[in-house]
Amino acid sequence: MQTATSSAFKTNAHAALGDAGLQKALARSGSSFIARRAAAAAALPEFEALRDEARAIKDHTLAHLDFYLEAFADKVEAAGGQVHVCADAAEARAVVLEICRAAGARTVTKGKSMISEELGINDHLEANGITPVETDLGEYILQLRHETPSHIIAPAFHLNREDWEASFRAAHTDLPAERVFRERRDILVEARTKLREKFLAADVGITGANFLIAETGSSVIVTNEGNGDLTQTLPRVHIALSSIEKVVPTLEDCTSLLRVLARSATGQEFSVYTTFSTGARRQGDLDGPEAYHVVIVDNGRSNMLGGEFQPMLRCIRCAACMNHCPVYGAVGGHAYGWVYPGPMGSVLTPALIGVDQAGLLPGASTFCGKCESVCPVRIPLPGLMRHWREREFERHLTPAAQRRNLALWAFVAKRPALYRALTRAGAFGLRLMAGKRGRFRHLPLAGGWTAGRDLPAPEGETFFARYAREQRGRAP
């Protein structure tokens, strides 16, 4: 499993800000996602109504999650598939390995799956002599580079074209030196050719699942490349990896969610391939896997049910929140230190690996509210981050200096006369210190702020004083 470095968020973020390649990638890609989503939302008058519905469908399912999971499992089994419900990552890894072993697997192709990253499937298979091959283009290059995804739908978000060329030359040693990679197209063709052999040779295909449908017992994947479909169609065995909150009741419910998913994610009206898999190869079929397994993990999610973080389980992993986040846009995904970056990661990661390890993430926010305003299932992300901060404070995980300052502020804030006297003196003092310019270039204790910009000085009168004055002036 990926070792979390979320507790080093500050150092990570600092390093990210100084990483020229990363900054180039972030500057290039950030705004395009935003513009595409906005255009897709504007082109569908019903978009806001669909978001309300998407939220309601997820809330309804979560309130009856036990029922729908059982209904799903019954349907899968009726269609000749198998369901494995696992409590944690270790159990899920063991189940996946067991299925691969039983199939006599040597290589396993993989579609993009964040759950697979969360569970650490690749390392576990490799340690047991089975070779996993990532087939999503972005995941493939990350595997060559031994890196983790920095974005939940665009895993190689942090890379530039030079990086692709360098990695391909290093890994594909049969490439003639004169082979050019001038165009993105050249890179795509090289990857397609190399991966074709892998698709055909694989014994087992592992995909994620965007949704599980209780009505039919289907697992659903959504891709643009077609790699997920080759992964689940060509090998003898298909394993769909999923987590408990992915289940939805019916095809109609799934359809409503699909209408907001692609638009929120890439700004497409619909992804190229949306595929529903139900059981194994049927009588007379000329292709398709002979065995179909769905592995469903809890891994900490049931703890979120019934509490303040339950709304986070509505997440459909569209990535709109990180695409619109100024913090993600400045530091990228790796700084968050674990599988899920951006605002959704800042809420989910502490729930899954513990607030003691990931307590800094909910603070990595400007509370601008953009994430909540674009989330297709209307998760109140800033509010949930605030809950984590409160919990962290209650559990005394906040650094001592911060606690002392907060205690001091609370002491003053609870005493209005003292508060007014101090703010009056402060505003007056700062006004005097700032002189004619009215701004500070440097200010003791505020070096972090003034390093990048000037601090405007107060105008000499506090809000309270001015409010009182204007009320007096207005009185009849």
Partner: protein
Amino acid sequence: MSREAVLLAIRRGLRRGPLPPDQAMALRARLDGHPRHVIPARSRLDRDGQVALFAANVEREFGTVIRVDDAAAVPAAVADWLAAQNLPSAAAIAPHPELRAIPWADRPLLRLREGRAEASDQVAIQHGFAGIAETGTLMLPSAPERPTTLNLLAEAAVVILRAARVVGAYEEAWDLLRAELGAMPRNVMLVTGPSRSADIEQALELGAHGPRRLCVVLVGAG
């Protein structure tokens, strides 16, 4: 296996035991009734309007649409398109009765092999089950006469779809599928345009792992 333990943990979170029978019955009725939600107004058109919207959306997603009057015109349309695209005139074709009824022999240079697609196939010809106007999406359920590999392995995918099979919204295609096929097929692909990737610098490139070109031959009137 932890199925019971996980169900228990879920119920503990939700602060209740298993659902009482009346509630479970209501949920089962919801599954059986599968109620529809909001359906975007854009596909609420007459038949001709839906077929036109379908064709426009396929093209918007970088696919090609060729409209022909009847099955007799299909072989020429396919052969001409392949030639114009510099593609070979050999193809794997779905063993579907509707496709068998097409007079392919009129174009003897088209070499067709019935069955699933193999990695060496440049062209695959698939039978379209339904078209969804809302986003220009093809519905391709798997069956012995409609192998899934034909949607995926070739460089170019050709889908023969009767215009009468174009519906407005996804929900209408699901109802067709329920009415005609009964149980959910092993695999149902909803395909919208040719394969693509934006993984390299977030810029769109057509032709990732699936077909680089998608041609829909729409047969007859809506």
